[in-house]
Symmetry: C2
């Protein structure tokens, strides 16, 4: 049996034809247009292309799952607000269902990505997983007891909006000191800029001659070249990242905690010091059965695969 | 069908005979003795008394559930370390099972209390609940998707050991800035003492002439009498408490979040400002479907009732 998954991004609409064990059999991508009808049309086009690439018809699929950013109403299948996409109160599931002739479900993109990793990535063969994505924000999702966990109102697993520095840096959600404000790529860039302004002599300025040129790689590059200011930024970043990860572990004790997103391209550069911090911070640090912390495996495909399988794991 | 529940405390061993819908039909309590065999004997005595009070035999019960503080191994039924009880690697489930002739299971006391509230207290008729107990520490447990949630290694839901002030006050767990270090009664007492030392003229000194006399009621009493220093302590306490509660809500979005423990005797004195803070801090503050925050209902009976029902909800 086949399932269609759609990952609705600000730049592209990505579609995949997925088997029930999470294999991506066909894949297509079209630019994200403006306007609700146009987005639904683009989803239809991408879905038909993905099915064709796999050599099957859309009608061979059992359902279509839509992963959307922003605020959504999964029960009604409505995208409530998705500022990046310019969508407001759009009954996207119904619109896509009519175009493809298939039942359609809607899910938060971070939750879908977690489900993808659970079925076909870092969580394969395990029973529970928390997935954290370090990007513009800190995305998070969980599969607990074999089901996608979203809370009673489908708004759950906003790990990025748990506070680790009460009264700290302003977060986009309105709170101060959220994990996201420190551990996201945006948070790392913010910390790097603050350090550069405080240290006009830092080698960071050689890697980013203007503050606007700082990206998530800048502090890692400068630290590797021996710049102590950059190393300080990384050290604090690792502490903030590990603090939130230890919070998730102490609370949820998932079998697997995987981390993805651009910052994770640093690999063991990042994971090794994070593990050291966790060895100090975890409640279960002396236990034989600890959460396995690892990298996410599916990259950008996690959202497509997870979206496709939402009907099986809700 | 009947179930026996045991709440193993540092002072008393409390036992209850419980119906499958969580009604407490008989109850007994004996002082907690020293020594593993003696503790098991005391559990047997209390269980038989509770059954007798309900007019039934222990053999009429299907099982016995043990709620223990400290570090436990629920799979093996072993109390690993319970410092308050002086127990170390004690196979308590097996010892009790032999004495009572019933299958026995072991669970963490905060998890058992959460289950009790779910079945017969604040969570009655709802599908998910997080229970927070503000005592010496911050106890916590959750029932998600109709099952007691404890993580893959049964060590889960240590909400008290999630950090809200990274680098802050030393916690007993080894981390710095844990929610427990601020939001527990111990944390409140610590903050009150700090404020008294900093303000020798505060009216707090009238309510507790020596630092050792401060308890969780002291700052509330002095604040109610108009002392600004005490009010400052309460205001910060409310912010810390609400910070952790908002973290739990943003992450887990349970249908019910109940708060118990001695500090909660303050009732609306405490809950009203906490709700104000949550209206500012919750990710879903503008949503129609928000977690209901309320007081726990079962008091000290929650542990007995929950322990009894563990076999049905694991």
């Amino acid at each position: 049996m086949y399932y269609i998954g759609i990952d609705l991004g600000g730049t592209n609409v990505a579609a995949g034809l997925v088997s029930e064990d999470g294999k991506l059999l066909g894949k297509a991508s079209v630019p994200t247009p403006k306007g609700a009808g146009q987005v639904a049309d683009a989803i239809e086009t991408a879905a038909r292309q993905a099915a064709a690439q796999a050599g099957v018809e859309v009608s061979d699929a059992r359902s279509v799952g839509l992963a959307s950013p922003g605020s959504i109403d999964p029960e009604g299948g409505v995208v409530v607000h998705a500022f990046n996409l310019g969508l407001d109160y759009v009954p996207l599931a119904e619109m896509v269902s009519q175009r493809l002739g298939l039942p359609a479900v809607l899910e938060n993109d971070a939750n879908a990505a977690a489900l993808g990793e659970f079925v076909a990535g870092a969580g394969m063969g395990h029973k529970s997983l928390v997935a954290i994505t370090l990007g513009t924000g800190v995305g998070s999702g969980a599969v607990l007891g074999g089901k996608l966990y979203t809370g009673f109102n489908y708004a759950g697993m906003e790990a990025g909006h748990t506070v680790i520095h009460r009264g700290g840096r302003q977060c986009t959600c309105g709170r101060k000191g959220c994990w996201e404000a420190y551990a996201s790529a945006t948070g790392l860039i913010c910390s790097t800029r603050e350090a550069m302004e405080a240290h006009p002599d830092s080698a960071l300025w050689r890697y980013a001659p203007a503050l606007a040129q700082v990206n998530g790689k800048t502090p890692f590059d400068a630290a590797q070249a021996g710049d102590p200011v950059a190393q300080g930024v990384i050290d604090e970043y690792v502490e903030d990242l590990a603090c939130g990860l230890a919070n998730m572990i102490n609370l949820l004790q998932p079998e697997i905690l995987c981390i993805g997103g651009g910052v994770c391209k640093q690999g063991e550069n990042l994971l090794a010091p994070v593990r050291l911090a966790l060895n100090r911070e975890e409640f279960t640090r002396d236990s034989a059965r600890r959460t396995k912390v690892c990298m996410a495996q599916l990259g950008n495909d996690a959202g497509i695969v997870g979206a496709a399988l939402v009907p099986m794991y809700r």
